[in-house]
């Protein structure tokens, strides 16, 4: 389970937009996997199947519960021993892959949350997680053509929403 939790949680975080809902979603996904595990063959390809449960669950739950609260990853977390900063993955040295600062991260996440759950899932899997269309199609149980058209629609919407940020980045 440890092998998949970070990954499943990362997708959940980008789909839900806040830590509490992401934790809830990711845990619910694991519970469903746990229950279904008793019914699948030992040799079945676990990863693709896990992704399928996760993506469909996220889309279902988020459709029913569209209101989300946004919380930045860089906001301090309240713990028993006072506030502390979240640990972040090391950003790549590559400038293109340098992670956004907290404010920009939040604005891009807001734009993601404006998309419908179907479109958001495709963008998260393709552009955040870097999956190929074929993999996304199999995870979501839709034809490749659907992935292609959803991703294009989602990117055009994101492009319009993110136009001010792109202008700011070009100027700085």
């Amino acid at each position: 389970m440890a092998r998949y939790s970070r990954h499943v949680y990362a997708i959940a975080y980008r789909m839900a937009g806040n830590e509490a809902d992401a934790k809830d979603l990711a845990q619910e996904a694991f519970i469903r996997v746990w229950r279904a595990l008793r019914r699948i063959e030992p040799g079945a390809p676990l990863e693709g199947w896990l992704h399928r449960i996760v993506t469909n669950l996220y889309i279902d739950l988020l459709r029913r519960r569209p209101k989300v609260h946004l919380q930045s990853l860089d906001e301090p977390v309240a713990t028993d021993s006072g506030e502390m900063q979240r640990e972040r993955a090391d950003p790549n040295v590559d400038v293109e892959r340098t992670v956004l600062d907290a404010a920009l991260d939040r604005r891009v996440q807001e734009a993601l949350l404006d998309l419908s759950a179907d479109l958001r899932m495709v963008v998260v899997l393709a552009d955040v997680e870097g999956y190929a269309y074929e993999e996304i199609a199999s995870m979501m149980g839709v034809p490749i053509g659907t992935v292609k058209s959803r991703l294009h629609r989602a990117r055009r919407t994101m492009r319009d929403r993110l136009a001010p940020i792109r202008r700011e980045l070009r100027q700085s």
Binding site: Q27, T98, V99, V128, K148, R155, A163
Partner: protein
């Protein structure tokens, strides 16, 4: 390809997800179309920006919370009935599905013997066509016998 169709292919082109032929076609179009080049660049910038979102770290209490939820009993749903109950229900259904045509077939035989095969067929066969539980083998047998009799042959084989 029309400009509109090329535009719709730009995301897939950007991701290297088009076939060789479509890729060449989009590339050729881009050489001569400034607005599509601008569109492609804006999509590329968007993809790059989204790709720079940070990787959230897993909350420290994730695994503990998960285990406590797994161990919490959940409400039973009808399809989680205990297996013996499900098996019994399935067996009862199978018995009904086999017994109904058998009993019906037996009753049909008695009735055919009573009224004679010709009358039985005339009054019964049209209604039987729509009845899923009718013993079709018996109806076929009776109608074949009736046909042979019409031809002057003995259906039991002795001349």
């Amino acid at each position: 390809m029309s400009t509109h169709r090329i535009e719709r292919q730009l995301s897939a082109y950007l991701d290297g997800e088009l076939g060789a032929e479509d890729t060449a076609e989009v590339r050729a179009h881009l050489d001569g179309c400034e607005s599509c080049r601008a569109e492609l660049e804006s999509l590329r910038a968007t993809k790059t920006l989204v790709g720079r979102l940070g990787q959230p770290s897993l909350p420290g209490d994730f695994a503990a919370g998960l285990w406590s939820r797994i161990e919490r009993p959940t409400a039973r749903r009808w399809f989680w009935w205990p297996r013996p109950a499900m098996a019994l229900a399935a067996a009862a259904l199978a018995v009904v599905l086999v017994a109904v045509p058998l009993v019906r077939g037996h009753l049909d035989r008695l009735r055919a013997a009573e009224v004679g095969p010709d009358l039985f067929l005339r009054s019964y066969a049209p209604a039987a066509a729509a009845d899923p539980f009718v013993d079709r083998a018996f109806i076929t047998l009776v109608s074949t016998d009736a046909g042979l009799r019409l031809l002057g042959e003995d259906p039991r084989g002795s001349r």
